[in-house]
Every structure is written in structure tokens, then in C-alpha cells.
């Protein structure tokens, strides 16, 4: 379970689109966590609503449901904690929390 799944208010849970996650071959974390990550293929890589790019280590973090601003996200490959914010143009981005 990612932090994004555990930190959202319970009443917003049902209104979000959910996703079945599968292991996409990201082997840089222990097996049980692999489905929550995938490699980023560069600036042309289009992210799904349940995906966000870690700005520190450039790995795509995946959640079982779509992200919303305010969600807390944890990147296991670089061990950074982030919060989802709305960036320019309304695109969701992750902001590192020190």
C-alpha cells in the first residue's frame, strides 16, 4: 500500500477511479512493492491519473486509485516523502517534503 492510498480522507475514497496494479518489472524494490513503481521513459512518457513522477529519482509511482492534490506519496527507491500538488496547467506533480 502506498501512502497515497492510506492518507486520503475516507469519504473521498469511493469517488476515485481505482486501478488493478500489476508488476511491470521494476526490480529495484522488494517484490511485494514492485507493482507500485515503473521505470520512466523520458519527457514523452504520459502518466495515467494514478501515476506520479518522483522528481528526485525519476521513477513513476503508481497507486491503486487516482491521485488528488494533498495525497501523501512515498518513493521507496530514493526514500523521499512527497505531497501531490497541482502544477502549471493543472497537471499533478509531487513536491518533496523535507
Amino acid at each position: 500500500m502506498t501512502d497515497a492510498e492510506s492518507s486520503a480522507p475516507p469519504n473521498s475514497r469511493d469517488s476515485r477511479r481505482t486501478y488493478e496494479l500489476e508488476d511491470l518489472g521494476f526490480n529495484e524494490v522488494p517484490k511485494k512493492w514492485r507493482k507500485f513503481y515503473r521505470h520512466w521513459t523520458g519527457p514523452g512518457d504520459e502518466l495515467a491519473p494514478n501515476e506520479i513522477l518522483c522528481p528526485v529519482c525519476k521513477v513513476v509511482i503508481r497507486s491503486g486509485r487516482e491521485f488528488r492534490p494533498g495525497d501523501k506519496v512515498y518513493c521507496m527507491p530514493c526514500m523521499s516523502r512527497m505531497v501531490v500538488v497541482e502544477g502549471p496547467g493543472g497537471r499533478l506533480e509531487a513536491e518533496v517534503v523535507f
Binding site: 526490480n27 529495484e28 522488494p30 522528481p55 528526485v56 529519482c57 525519476k58 527507491p77 530514493c78 523521499s80
Partner: protein
């Protein structure tokens, strides 16, 4: 702070790294993987690859000296423990890239003379700027220099080389994949640990920004030298495209490769430094 640092445990490192993505690897790649015959049989290409690999060895030797030197300068035990894992990562990188030199035909007895012959003087100066801070016991400057500037550069260099080698040289690409995974932890520690420390010690900013400026100067000079000496890509209609940040590395000229690498690394520097409260300084001539 304690909560963030508790994640960088030896146990976590064991599970992710030696018991994870490095399991069953030999010198960071598959046991049966070899350098391609076309490379080993082309004298010019072979010399170019030896020269490139020497720069990786030089960079990793610097990273090994810096991360091990910073252990004693670290102000807390969780940071010392993380830097101990990073020290082993860097030692492994030195070993796998040295092994690649042997795989490319360098004799063990000729290792140091080969490193001396091909080491780029600007890369050596880049390392000296960082190691001076480490020798002074300056933890904040040392971690910025090591885990943000050096590792930030290595991260992009390795990514570019991995993309360019995926099709023609899977053995080397696999070696790089493991080092990239290691670098993710290193840049993560750098930003997370220093992001908090810079706020506590704003008086350190000018000195650290000056170090970044000098290191960037020597890094760009290294790139310019490396790509000036690089042979143009051999025409190969069979070779798959290797797109990296909008450039096809399979067909790009050395000038195009230098431009995409420098632009990517500098863009990353600006963003990473900005996140931890430092302002990127454009390099000027260093005397």
C-alpha cells in the same frame, strides 16, 4: 528528521540491493554476458570505450573517497550508517567499471597506467574540488558536492549511456542499470538530508554555491573534451533507435549528444539545488 533517516537502514539496503536487483549478477551483469565481438574487433571503437570507462572509474573512485570520508564528518549515526552503505555501493561501482576495463582487454598490470593515460584532467579537477571539502570535514558542502552535484551528473550520464547501449551492448547496459538504481538512493539521501540542514545553516550557502559553480565548470569541460574525442556513430541501419530526452542516441552526432547531456544535467542541477534552497550558479572561467 529521525523518521526520515530511519529508512536508510542496512536491512533495507540488503533487501533492495544485494538481495534484490543485484541478486544473481556477476560484476553487475548477467553471468553469461560479454562485450560484443564487433566492439572487441574494432581498434578505434575499443580505445574510445576504454577511455569512456576510465572516466567512470575516475568518477567512482572520487565518489568512494568522498562517501567514506564523509562518514566521520556526519553529525549523526543514521547518516553515518547510510554513508556506509553508499561507500560499499561506490566501491562496487569502482569494481564493476574496473572489471569492464579488463573485459575490454586492459591487462591488470596496466590498470593504473591506463587510468593515468586516459583520465580527463578536468574530471580530476572536478574531483579535487569536492575532495577538498571532504578533507576539511565539511559535511554539508561535502554531501551537496557528492550526493547532488556528482551523483546528479552520474545519474544522467549513466541513464544516457544505458539508453545508448541497450541494443548494441546489453552487458554494459545491465551493469549501468544496477548503478542507476544505487544512484537513486544517493540523490534521495542528498536532497532529503541536506534540504533540512541548509535551512538550519543558511550561512553556508555562498560557499556551497561557489563549490557547485567550480564543479559545474569542470564537468562541462569534461563533457566538451569527451565528445570532441568521440567517434561519430557508425552507420547501422539495423540498429534500433535509442531515444533519450528527445535525441536518438543511435544516430546523434557527438555535438548533439554533448548538448542533450549538458542541458539535461544542468536542468537537473537547477531543479535539485532549488528544492534544497540553493541557487544554481552559472560557471565562469576558473583560474
Amino acid at each position: 528528521m529521525a523518521d526520515f533517516l530511519s529508512q536508510y537502514s542496512i536491512q533495507r539496503w540488503l533487501e533492495m540491493c544485494p538481495q534484490g536487483y543485484l541478486e544473481d549478477t556477476v560484476y553487475g551483469r548477467g553471468a553469461e554476458e560479454h562485450e560484443p565481438e564487433e566492439l572487441l574487433g574494432d581498434e578505434d571503437l575499443l580505445e574510445s570505450e576504454i577511455s569512456t570507462t576510465v572516466q567512470l572509474v575516475v568518477g567512482e573512485r572520487c565518489a568512494l573517497a568522498a562517501s567514506s570520508g564523509l562518514i566521520n564528518a556526519a553529525p549523526d549515526f543514521p547518516s553515518k550508517r547510510f554513508l556506509a552503505t553508499q561507500t560499499l555501493d561506490e566501491a562496487r561501482h569502482v569494481e564493476v567499471f574496473t572489471q569492464r576495463l579488463y573485459d575490454l582487454g586492459v591487462k591488470k598490470g596496466d590498470l593504473e597506467s591506463t587510468v593515468d593515460r586516459y583520465a580527463n584532467p578536468n574530471l580530476v579537477k572536478f574531483a579535487e574540488v569536492l575532495l577538498e571539502k571532504v578533507d576539511d570535514g565539511d559535511f554539508i558542502a561535502g554531501v551537496v558536492g557528492q550526493n547532488i552535484v556528482l551523483e546528479g551528473m552520474a545519474f544522467s550520464v549513466f541513464e544516457m549511456m544505458e539508453a545508448g547501449n541497450r541494443d548494441p551492448n546489453p552487458k554494459f547496459a545491465h551493469t549501468l542499470t544496477g548503478t542507476i538504481a544505487d544512484e537513486r538512493r544517493h540523490v534521495g539521501f542528498g536532497e532529503n538530508r541536506i534540504g533540512a540542514l541548509i535551512r538550519e545553516h543558511p550561512e553556508k550557502k555562498p560557499e556551497i554555491e561557489k563549490m557547485q559553480q567550480e564543479m559545474t565548470f569542470y564537468m562541462l569541460a569534461t563533457f566538451a573534451d569527451a565528445f570532441a574525442d568521440a567517434p561519430p556513430p557508425p552507420p547501422d541501419p539495423e540498429r534500433a533507435a535509442a531515444e533519450w530526452h528527445g535525441t536518438d542516441l543511435a544516430t546523434a552526432t557527438p555535438e548533439e549528444m554533448e548538448a542533450v547531456l549538458a542541458n539535461t544535467v544542468l536542468g537537473e542541477f537547477k531543479t535539485r539545488l532549488g528544492r534544497i534552497g540553493l541557487e544554481y550558479q552559472t560557471p565562469v572561467g576558473v583560474g
